[in-house]
């Protein structure tokens, strides 16, 4: 699977550290979004793997893995759309 990943970033020290023009590597993430969240979604055993939460998450942070679904809490904003869309009420929102 291909998705942008979190990088360590150091502010440029010299002019040549900056890119030419306004063109830089695609998908280059340096800050998390986890601090935005008041509640975190937890996927429970009631999940039937219908993937509706995966599809409708605006941030794309519900990941398909070999052992089922996983949530990238670095970038989940806690909106609760996954909880509402789930046909089995398998997602619980937990206060952070």
């Amino acid at each position: 699977m291909n998705k942008p990943t979190l990088r360590s970033y150091q502010k440029p020290q010299k002019l040549s550290d900056y890119p030419l023009g306004t063109a830089s590597e695609a998908g280059h993430l340096v800050t998390k979004n986890s601090g935005w969240r008041n509640e975190r979604p937890i996927i429970t055993d009631a999940c039937i793997n219908c993937l509706q939460c995966y599809l409708y998450c605006p941030d794309g942070v519900i990941l398909k893995t070999e052992h089922g679904l996983d949530i990238d809490y670095d970038f989940c904003k806690g909106c609760g759309i996954c909880e509402k869309i789930c046909p089995k009420q398998a997602i619980k929102m937990e206060v952070e």
Partner: protein, 303 residues
């Protein structure tokens, strides 16, 4: 129909990730899904607006496919250049795709869009419609519906929000005799995904108009973005349709509509509407549907 894209078959790659859109943002879901369908060959052009503002803050760059911000008015014209340039330098298997807001499409960018369709450039233009200029703080655009309160159409004793109906951009685009145009909603991603897939195969200009609610601008809780998009279709204020080979086709023809009042009053931007205002909207809806049912192909088929 076989070969449908579903949650199971769509690529698990993410192309719009780690962005700074508000929690529960409908526009970001539209962009995310569009790019997942198009894949790594997508070269996206986004004008000034929320989706570019939340995705391109150097050094935090959230598109993993090639992407560029255009001027506010220049989505379609830059798409034209990107498409011609990519061909000229010998790039194969790419799709130039525009991802523009309602203001960027129906207002300031309509001239360039019209020009691109007129040339039948081989591009896909997706308008994510959140019904106002959100990035600048919820001002009225040409796609803001009748009655909506925005910061430039306040509601008071004299005027109840926006006094003009929503521009009919889908049919304006279709009137160019475009090879393919469709409406969609993030309330129905299956329909949206498959329309993108279909549009991406069109040789020439294709246009998709996807409703993408903005919880901030609409005045709804952040977890209701999808519900409100669905309610909008259920009450008949939005419809799923296509234009192809010179014909309009309605994709879903509801037997009856759910309550328009429920839809409206569940949103902050419509809270001030009185029964007379709601009557106007209902009458507009009924007139529109009468015309659709009379003139368009309404045989439902699974998309």
């Amino acid at each position: 129909m076989s070969n449908q894209i579903t949650a199971k078959t769509i690529t698990d790659s993410e192309f719009f990730y780690g962005h700074k859109a508000c929690s529960g943002c409908g526009g970001s879901l539209a962009v995310r899904i569009a790019l997942k369908v198009l894949g790594e060959g997508a070269i996206s052009v986004l004008p000034a607006g929320c989706m570019s503002a939340v995705g391109f803050n150097y050094p935090h760059l959230c598109f993993s496919n090639n992407s560029i911000i255009s001027t506010f008015a220049g989505t379609a014209s830059m798409l034209t250049g990107v498409e011609a340039g990519a061909r000229a330098v010998g790039i194969k298997n790419f799709k130039a795709v525009g991802l523009a807001g309602d203001g960027g499409t129906a207002d300031i960018g309509i001239q360039a869009l019209s020009g691109a369709i007129d040339r039948n450039d081989d591009i896909l233009y997706i308008c994510y419609d959140n019904e106002a200029y959100m990035n600048t703080g919820i001002q009225k655009s040409g796609l803001t519906p009748f009655g909506a309160k925005t910061t430039t159409t306040p509601s008071g004793e004299n005027i109840h929000g926006n006094i003009r109906p929503k521009k009919n951009l889908f049919e304006i685009v279709a009137a160019h005799d475009i090879p393919y145009a469709a409406t969609a909603s993030i309330g129905n991603l299956k329909d949206f995904m498959n329309k993108i897939e279909k549009a991406s195969k069109i040789k020439g200009t294709a246009y998709i108009h996807v409703v993408a609610p903005c919880p901030i601008g609409w005045g709804i809780p952040v977890n209701e973005t999808i519900d409100i998009a669905r309610k909008m279709m259920d009450c008949g204020l939005w419809y799923l349709a296509e234009y192809e080979n010179g014909q309009f086709k309605l994709n879903k023809n509801p037997r009856e509509f759910s309550s328009i009042k429920d839809y409206l009053l569940s949103q902050g931007r419509f809270k001030h509407l009185d029964d007379a205002d709601i009557e106007i909207l209902a009458a507009q809806r009924d007139a529109k549907w009468a015309a659709i049912r009379k003139n368009w192909n309404t045989t439902e088929e699974e998309l």
